[in-house]
């Protein structure tokens, strides 16, 4: 009997313990630990912060059909007092979206409905979308923001720019990028010499440090065969033939004192024109100058004189689509420029290749190599068809599952971002059969491209959230002006109605901005308005009649009548304007007048003879309305202040 009691007592105790387990387990939830900890932490803060109620919290995003319980532990997301706190309590950085509206996992990935750390981060079996590393966060912006430029996501913007510039789409299928212009290879055999070509194929960056051509990691033998193959293409497209060199340029081996002195004069002339034409605004010479076009430091050791002569005379005949202006040089100036380049821009260290006998089957083997590396993906040659995209499609690369990726024998972290990063840095590391060339991206560039690629997901986002790029501008001037714009490659630097580059000023409102006399004088002798710029307007040596055509067109099209403004000028107003300029707004911090002042903005000497008063007034009121990229501060001027400043500036003539 007694024993039975003992058993009864023992089993009751056991029963009670078993009953207690469930509430105990609930009491020791991980998230509760965080909530108690949070309430402890906020007690020590100087400011009063509302303590958290104990319990599961969640954000339900109806539009995206998503439930995120991250806020159960991340309690301080909106508390500014917790900026310096440790995770998970730290304040969320202020971004342009309210997370209470969009939730967390739409950007961060991970498992929103989970309530333990490990599960929510997604590092568990069968959860394919682990949380994004912080460094790749901007990839999530790409799900909705499809424009090229996303100002709040600079890494993504850089990545998209690099994808376009590197011409990834010539091998990979990827929507939303434009193909870049790449020189055609027609007539390459008559353009370059084989020694240069072999060197170039081996490592293009050796010759031109900023070239977009990647390194195909060719072996010596491959480079030899491919260059032999390419050298056979000696005729240009559209039946263009190289022009014979003028007598002045043909050098004879016999010493001729008269010819020598004439040649020296010619080189002198060429050197002057070379400087006036501002070739270095676009071309690089020994690392200095613009990077729009190719390196010129050793160009005479690359191309023949005849090709150079024909090319400068009319670039678009040899390279259709190239954005180089046709300079209006006369015969002797042209010969001079070529003679100057031949004498100065030489690679003195280049060694002639030893005589070699081409492989008997070089043409077939060369063609095979040409096809293997998909050279025609970028370069046009001999009417050869563009090869089909040979690389894997990248449209939904951000949604690739881990089991779809071949990590080879590498022991990098087995995640998609780390795979993409490594692939960009060392394209052929995962298998020897890979053909992707090496672009020599820096870590930062590779990371940016990885971000842009990760954003290409197949996730279904409701259309209402997506923001698409504006359609590209189709502005194409017609008639005489259109021909000139094409001939002078204006779009290579200037933007008009949304088309073109922003190397130089936007011309859309040029006639409202500048006075006709000034524009015409500027074509004659271009000078830099901003002393610090490296890219400067070249002297194109355009004729008076051409200047008139351009002036007329601008006055009709590049103008907005709303910018006209009459201003009553009197002495008091000018004096006030002068005070505003030097005193109140400190304009001289950035602008120069008579060589005094800063050199951030354009010099304002003679601005009264350059700009129109209506423009100055409107510009001062809101500079970014006309040029969104301008860094001129918007001082929120009153009409009176802007008028006074305009009146003062218009007196500077």
């Amino acid at each position: 009997m007694n024993k039975l009691r003992i058993y009864f007592a023992a089993s009751s105790v056991v029963f009670l313990v078993v009953l207690a387990i469930s509430p105990l387990k609930d009491f020791f939830r991980e998230w509760k630990w965080y909530q108690y900890k949070y309430n402890d932490i906020i007690k020590e803060l100087p400011q009063r912060v509302k303590p958290a109620d104990i319990g599961i919290k969640q954000i339900w995003v109806r539009k995206l059909d998503n439930i995120d319980r991250c806020v159960t532990c991340h309690l301080g997301l909106k508390e500014k007092a917790l900026r310096e706190a440790k995770e998970p309590f730290r304040t969320h950085p202020h971004i342009y979206h309210d997370f209470e509206e969009f939730g967390c996992t739409v950007c961060h990935e991970g498992q929103g409905s989970a309530t333990t750390y490990k599960e929510s981060v997604g590092m568990v079996k069968y959860w394919d979308k682990p949380i994004f590393p912080k460094e790749y966060m901007e990839a999530s912006c790409a799900k909705c923001h499809k424009q090229k430029q996303v100002p709040q996501a600079p890494v993504l913007t850089l990545g998209r720019k690099l994808i376009e510039e590197s011409n990834c789409i010539s091998c990979h299928k990827l929507e939303g990028y434009r193909k870049q212009w790449v020189p055609s290879l027609d007539g390459i055999g008559a353009k370059v010499n084989r020694t240069w070509l072999v060197k170039w194929l081996k490592n293009p960056k050796d010759y031109f440090s900023k070239t977009r051509m990647p390194n195909f990691l060719l072996t010596d033998e491959e480079a030899n065969i491919l260059s032999d193959f390419l050298m056979t293409f000696k005729s240009f497209s559209n039946d263009v033939v190289l022009e014979p060199l003028p007598k002045l340029l043909s050098t004879s081996s016999v010493y001729d004192p008269v010819g020598e002195s004439e040649r020296a004069k010619l080189i002198e002339l060429g050197s002057t024109r070379f400087r006036e034409a501002r070739c270095i605004s676009c071309h690089l010479i020994n690392g200095k100058g613009g990077y729009v076009a190719t390196e010129l430091a050793k160009v005479a050791s690359k191309v023949g004189a005849q090709w150079l002569y024909t090319y400068i005379k009319n670039p678009k005949r040899l390279q259709p689509g190239v954005e180089m202006p046709r300079y209006r040089f006369n015969e002797s100036e042209l010969a001079g420029v070529v003679a100057y380049m031949q004498s100065e821009l030489v690679d003195y260290e280049m060694e002639e290749l030893p005589q070699h006998s081409p492989d008997p089957a070089y043409y077939e083997k060369g063609l095979a190599l040409f096809k293997k590396y998909n050279c025609s993906g970028c370069h046009a040659i001999g009417g050869m068809k563009k090869a089909e995209e040979m690389g894997p499609e990248l449209t939904f690369v951000g949604s690739k599952m881990l089991y779809e990726i071949d990590f080879g024998k590498s022991n990098i972290e087995q995640t998609l971002p780390s795979y993409l990063f490594a692939k960009l840095k060392t394209p052929r590391a995962f298998s020897s059969a890979m053909k992707m060339p090496n672009y020599e991206f820096t870590d930062e560039e590779a990371q940016a491209i990885t971000v842009a690629l990760l954003g290409n997901t197949s996730e279904a986002i409701p259309e209402q959230f997506k923001i698409y790029p504006k359609p590209a501008s189709t502005f194409a001037p017609q008639g005489e002006f259109g021909k000139l714009v094409d001939d002078l490659a204006c779009f290579g630097c200037h933007t008009m109605f949304g088309r073109g580059r922003l190397v130089a000023t936007d011309l859309t409102l040029e006639a409202s901005q500048a006075q006709r006399n000034w524009i015409e004088g500027y074509f004659k002798i271009p000078y830099s308005l901003r002393p610090i710029l490296t890219e400067r307007m070249p002297n194109l040596f355009v004729s008076d009649s051409e200047i008139k055509v351009m002036g007329d067109y601008m006055e009709r099209v590049f103008i907005a009548d709303s910018l006209e403004r009459e201003i009553n000028v009197d002495e008091a107003k000018i004096a006030k304007g002068k005070f505003f300029y030097y005193g109140k707004f400190g304009c001289q911090a950035c602008h120069q007048i008579n060589l005094k002042g800063g050199y951030v903005g354009p010099a304002l000497d003679k601005v009264g003879a350059r700009l129109k008063q209506g423009w100055i007034f409107s510009w001062l009121k809101n500079p970014q309305a006309f040029k969104p990229e301008s860094i001129e501060p918007n001082n929120n001027l009153t009409d009176e202040e802007a008028e006074a400043l305009t009146a003062y500036l218009m007196t500077l003539k």
Binding site: S11, E413, A422, A429
Partner: protein, 162 residues
């Protein structure tokens, strides 16, 4: 006796197993250890890849926060011309200015200023806070949020107080 002890054993076994399962919850080790473990794992994996010398490991280029990165980009565009890329007050236009632009790496001076003061200075310019009018007012160009980004970046130029 034997049968009773058998029952007892069964009961004990059930109890112990239940207790055991209830103890395997995460609360047994502090959750902060979980964080440490995850961070440690990431570090280790980069180390592993380093030693292979074959494939470059995933590298985290930027250690700035989102706000600081946004601030850095705005700073580089608008401020660096005078205040210098590293905030030493030595931008290329500083040469033309007298008084010279502020040196943001001067910890003693900068740490004495509140965020509110910095925001006001950027917002209203020098003329709004009794300083040189060479510092323009950026309130019309940058919105409040952008100015706060810039401040958060400027804050990391000087060494904060211990």
């Amino acid at each position: 006796m034997a049968s009773i002890s058998y029952r007892l054993r069964v009961l004990l076994a059930i109890c112990l197993s239940l207790l055991f399962f209830s103890c395997t919850g995460k609360h047994s080790d502090s959750p902060h250890q979980v964080y440490d473990l995850v961070e440690g794992a990431a570090k280790d994996s980069t180390k592993l890849a380093d030693s292979s010398g074959q494939v470059p490991p995933l590298q985290f280029v930027k250690s700035l926060t989102y706000e600081q990165r946004q601030g850095r980009d705005l700073y580089t565009k608008y401020c660096a011309i005078c205040h210098g890329k590293e905030g030493k007050g030595d931008g290329f236009n500083a040469f033309n200015l007298d008084p010279k632009p502020r040196n943001f790496t001067d910890a003693k001076y900068m740490n004495a200023l509140s965020d509110v003061r910095l925001v006001e200075t950027i917002n209203q310019g020098g003329r709004g806070v009794n300083r040189s009018s060479f510092m323009p007012s950026w309130g019309g160009r940058l919105n409040r949020q952008e100015i706060e980004y810039v401040v958060s970046f400027v804050r990391c130029l000087a060494k904060p107080e211990e």
